[in-house]
Each structure stands twice: as C-alpha cells, then as structure tokens.
C-alpha cells in the first residue's frame, strides 16, 4: 500500500514535470522575474493531516525542480500547526481553520498571510448491503449522527431516497476518537445546513452519543465503516476511495443531491465569499453543482521572513503550491482552488518580504 502511494506520488510528479515542459511559456509566467533561485535550504513545516497527501506530492514535485531544497511536513494536526507556527518552531504551517481572534496576538513572528491551497470533500461513507446509491439531506445526517435515526429504513432516509429499497439494518455511527479538523468542518457544516436538527454544535471533538464508535484518524473511521454492517461515518474523499467505501450524494443549498468529486468540490469553491485576509468557508456553498461538505485548508507564512535562503525557498514553494501544484490535486482526490482565489493568493505571496 505504502509502495503504491509512493509510486502514485512519483507518477504524479513525473506527469507534473512533463506538463511544465510542454507549456514552457506559461510555466515561465508563474516564476516571477528577478526572483533569486533559492538554494540549500531545509524547511520544516507542520499542520493539517487533511493536507498530508497534497504536501507529499507537492514536496516531491517541487524538490524535483529544486533539488537543493528539502521540505519536511509533519502532519500532526491543524491545531499543532497553528501552535508551532505561533511559537516559531516551523518555517510555515498548514491548517484547516484560521486562528481564533484571541489567539492572533500569540503569533510571535508578527504579521502572517493565509494562503488557501486545497479544497477537499468530506464524504458521508456507508456500508449497507444492497444499497449502492444513497442520498442524504443535512437534517437526515444530523439525526443519524445524533442517534435519533437508528435503522436504515427510517422514514427520513426513505424520504431522501424515493423508490430505493432500504433494509431494516441497524445504523452504526462512526466518528473520530482524536481531535480533528475534519470533525470540526463536518460539524460546522451541520450547524450551517441543519441548524434546527443539529444539537451537538461544532468543534474538533463534540459530545457524540455513547452508543457510537470511534476510530483514530480518517483511516480509523474508514476501517470501522468498512468492517461493520450498517455503518456510516465521515471520511475525507481520498481515504474513502482508498478504502473502497461507498459514499452518499448530499443535498446542497440548491436542493440538488451532489456526489463528491473534483468537479463538484471545485464548484463549491466558485460559490464562496472571500475576505481580504483570504479567509473563507467552502462549507454549504451556493450553486447547484457544489458538493456541500467541502472543506478548505490554508498554509500560513510570515510576512517578514528573517532568513534569506529560507525565505526565498518558502516563497518559491508557496508559489508552486498555488500554481503548478494545483494540477496534482485531482489525482489525489482533492480539488484546486478557483482561479479568482489563486490570483489573490499569488498577490499575497508576492508581498512576502525576503531580506
């Protein structure tokens, strides 16, 4: 499995290189004239596990073009990333959620920028024999995860799936045992889209009912869904696909049931409102084609870099992530950020000061 992932990463990286050579002119356009070629730098970063797959392929692709730069990404969670960045123990960090207002003052290195780089779907994966297509509305999801709906042939599920044959199998709810940005985004979606039905609020961990099952990481939840008949759980798209899980089409704001894939996730990106710090939420986005449980992720970087070679390397890598790196995302079941946001991100990256 691990070998497969590496092979895939290598293939993707090779594909990325080919592309660069093919459209040489446009590839050049992303390299700012007058930028010093960064050399011999090792960058340490930490943060969101949600971005782990993307960081692996992006680092591979970037360091192939810049062999003298080494980048280490420790996927210890968004919260750890924000903490490490605030304490200046990493050169940059990645996070699924921005700092709380009260915590911005604790960031020791001064001003910093949010650079959005990844959009990804959180699936509602399930394991029910004989049901290969499932449609769910936010209110139904809320009731399932609060254990108000306990069997698959419940009226609410039937109402979302007209004509479908649903078995009387009991529902097994799977969620994360560890604090997680995925849980935070999933529960935030339910507070937005099912405000009346959802009572557990949102957070990196919430008060799940006791008769539910907990797994560690997206992989742990996927494992439960895969092994328990009647199970349902929230898992990011790449892990759901890797485990061969079935996942539901979710009803969006336009009333359409939409399946998660690169197109529907990108469509969610088109319907977002971005503020001038580039903070936004892709959850419950407008638009008929948008997959509603779409999460976003940022990398954060200090506006004033203190080290010349490291600063140049950070800047080059950030530019790579929002330009050529974006092409790697669909391959790993994530989606690129929309063009308008990409332009804004590049403008922010250009403002990074390197001594």
């Amino acid at each position: 499995m691990k070998q497969m992932t590496w092979l895939l990463a290598a293939l993707v990286a090779v594909a990325g290189c080919d592309k660069k050579q093919n459209d040489g002119a446009s590839g050049k356009a992303t390299e700012k004239p007058g930028t010093v070629e960064p050399a011999n730098a090792t960058l340490n970063a930490s943060g969101a596990t949600f971005q782990k797959a993307f960081q692996e392929v992006a680092i591979e692709g970037f360091t192939k073009a810049h062999p003298s730069i080494k980048i280490n990404y420790g996927a210890g969670g968004s919260g750890k990333g924000r903490q490490d960045f605030a304490d200046q123990v990493v050169d940059f960090a990645c996070t699924d959620a921005p700092y709380k207002d009260a915590d911005v003052g604790k960031v020791k290195g001064g001003d910093f920028y949010y650079i959005p780089n990844v959009l990804g779907a959180i699936t509602v994966s399930y394991n029910v024999d004989g049901v290969d297509k499932l449609q769910l509305s936010a209110a139904t999801i809320a009731k399932i995860f609060q254990r108000e709906i306990k069997t698959w042939n419940d009226k609410a599920i039937a109402a979302d799936n007209p004509g479908a044959k649903l078995p009387a199998t009991p529902i097994v709810v799977a969620h994360r045992s560890d604090g997680s940005g995925t849980t935070e985004n999933f529960t935030k979606y339910l507070t937005l889209a099912a405000a009346d039905a959802w009572k557990l609020k949102s957070g990196s961990t919430v008060e799940w009912p006791a008769d539910t099952q907990a797994g560690s990481g997206n992989g742990g939840v996927a494992q439960i869904v895969k092994s328990a008949k009647g199970a349902i759980g929230y898992v990011d798209l790449s892990d759901a696909k890797a485990s061969g899980l079935k996942y539901a089409a979710i009803k969006n704001q336009g009333g359409k049931f939409v399946e998660p894939n690169a197109q529907t996730v990108s469509a969610a990106g088109d319907g977002i409102d971005v503020n001038d710090k580039l903070i936004f939420s892709a959850l419950n986005a407008k638009g008929d084609a948008a997959y509603p449980i779409t999460a976003q992720s940022w990398c954060i970087v200090y506006a004033k870099q203190t080290d010349k070679t490291k600063g140049a390397a950070v800047k080059a890598y950030f530019r790579y992530m929002v330009t050529d790196g974006q092409a790697l995302l669909p391959e790993i079941d994530f989606a690129p950020i929309p063009k308008s946001l990409q332009d804004k991100a590049l403008a922010q990256i250009d403002k990074i000061q390197v001594p």
């Binding site: 750890k80 915590d103 990196s204 008060e207 099952q213």
Partner: protein, 291 residues
C-alpha cells in the same frame, strides 16, 4: 562514610562524589516539583471556570467549554482494576511456579520470557488489541478490551516483583514447614505467602499504577466514548491518558487547560497509589523482622 575515611585518600574526591550524588538526588525532586507546579498552574484556568464541577461532572463538551473529569477518572480506575484482577492470579501463579515448582532447566527461559513481555512497546499491545481482541474476538472497543490489554502489560511487572519477594522467604522457614509434613501447597501457604504478603501487595499496587498511566494501548481500544460511568465492562469508555493523547493536538486554550488538569489528577492518583504501596511494603517488612 567511615569506609572512605579509613582509606585515608584525598578528601576532594569524596566531597566531589558526595555533592554529585546529592545533586542527582535533588534534581529528581526539583524536576518532580517543577512538573507539579507548571502543570497545576496551567490547569488553573479550567479549575477556575468549572470549580468543583470539574471533579463531579461526567459531561465533557468542548464546544460548550464544559469540562468534567468524572467519567475519565472512573474509566481509568475501572480499566486498571479489571487489569489487576486479571493479572494478579496469573502473575502470582507464574511467580510461585518459577520459584517453588519449576525444574531448574525451565526456570531461566521462563523468567526471560516474562521479562521480555515487559519491554514490548505499548503500541504493539494496542495494535494487537485492536486487530485481535476487538476485531477478531469481537470484544469491540470497551473497558473490558482495555482491561485485558492492560492485564497483559502489567503481568510481567507484577510477576517479576512477586518472584523477587517470594525468593526472600528464608529456606529455614520453608524447610521447617516441609519437615512438619506439609505438602508443597501447604508449605507455600504456611511459609511463603505470610512472609511475602506485604511485598506482593506492593507489587500489585505498582502494577495498578502502571495500568492507570498506560496511554496508547488504552487510547486504541477503550472506545473513546464520553460520559460513560457504568459497571458494564463491555461498554465503550474513556480514560484520562487516552483522552489526553486523543484530544491534545487540536485543543484550544481552555480545552488544553482541561486536559492538563486531567494529567494533574492522574499524577496525584498514581502518586497516592505508589505511596500506599511503599507504605504497605515497608510496614510488612518491619513486621517480618526488619528485612
């Protein structure tokens, strides 16, 4: 002290040696005090907010910034008790077998194997628990699963301590019992167990301490269910070390403070258990003739 003076060598070396050892001993105390101090200090925000409810409530809801430790304290003690209840008969059996019954050629390999169990990293036990106990044997993730795993982990500790305690039984006591016509079991009951009772209780208490502090194995198999205070051992639950390991990464300020407060509670409980264990061992040693 006298030994050094009799040798009549340089006193500088003695002084240096003495102060080095004193410094090393003090360092341990200082580190312990610093840990207790910083942890308590960082636990204060949640204690100020929650007051006594931190200890009496079983509700743990970070979205509401409401933190009650009761369910985790219960889970920690309950799984540790299950573990010790399962481990003690096995450990004592092994210790008695090794010291009193086993033929010489079997003794050493058995002792090595048991000691080997003690150095297996806990994550290995945890994964074994997830893969075999939870999935294969269908125990699920519950207090019972965690208890079984912890039992396997504390067995070597209790066994090796018990073995050493039992071996201190004077041969004269044992021979006296045998000479009076006692069978092997009667000899064990009349000579070995009374002599080593205190030490055995101490061994069990140390095992209990280890079981309470175990983190990764517990985190993997206990089920991470909130608010569970129930004697149903097959229900999923949670323990203090498990919840700290699971939730630390994404915790915000007050949440972190609450997790640190849990650590302080755990620290206090394990210290109490260890102090009681030491006291029992001491008392029994004093009673059995100051050995």
């Amino acid at each position: 002290m006298q030994l050094f003076e009799l040798r009549g060598r340089s006193h500088h070396g003695d002084a240096a040696f003495r102060w080095t050892t004193v410094a090393a001993a003090l360092l341990v105390l200082v580190v312990l005090a610093l840990i207790a101090f910083t942890m308590t200090q960082r636990a204060l925000p949640v204690l100020e907010k929650m007051g006594g409810e931190f200890f009496t409530s079983k509700r743990w809801a970070s979205p509401d910034s409401f933190y009650g430790a009761l369910a985790f304290v219960f889970g920690t003690l309950y799984t540790a008790l299950i573990a010790v209840a399962l481990a003690v008969p096995v450990s004592l059996g092994v210790a008695l077998f090794v010291t009193q019954v086993a033929p010489g050629w079997l003794k050493k390999p058995l002792v090595y194997t048991i000691d080997l169990l003690a150095v297996v990293p806990s994550v290995v036990f945890g994964l074994w628990g997830v893969l075999v106990l939870s999935n294969h044997f269908g125990l699920g993730r519950s207090f019972a699963t965690a208890g079984v795993i912890l039992a396997v982990m504390v067995t070597p500790i209790i066994t090796s301590l018990a073995r050493e305690v039992i071996e201190t039984t004077p041969t004269t006591d044992k021979e006296a019992a045998l000479a009076l016509g006692a069978t092997r079991w009667e000899m064990i009951r009349a000579a070995v167990l009374p002599h080593s009772r205190g030490g055995l209780v101490g061994a069990v208490m140390l095992g209990l301490g280890r079981a309470m502090g175990e983190t990764i194995a517990a985190a993997l198999v206990i089920g991470s269910a909130l608010g569970q205070v129930t004697v149903n051992a097959f229900a999923p639950g949670n323990s203090m070390p498990a919840v700290i390991a699971n939730e630390w990464g994404e915790a915000d300020d007050l949440h972190k403070s609450a997790l640190i407060a849990l650590a302080v509670v755990l620290f206090a409980i394990t210290i109490v258990v260890n102090l009681v264990a030491t006291w029992i061992v001491r008392r029994s040693m004093a009673r059995s003739g100051g050995k």
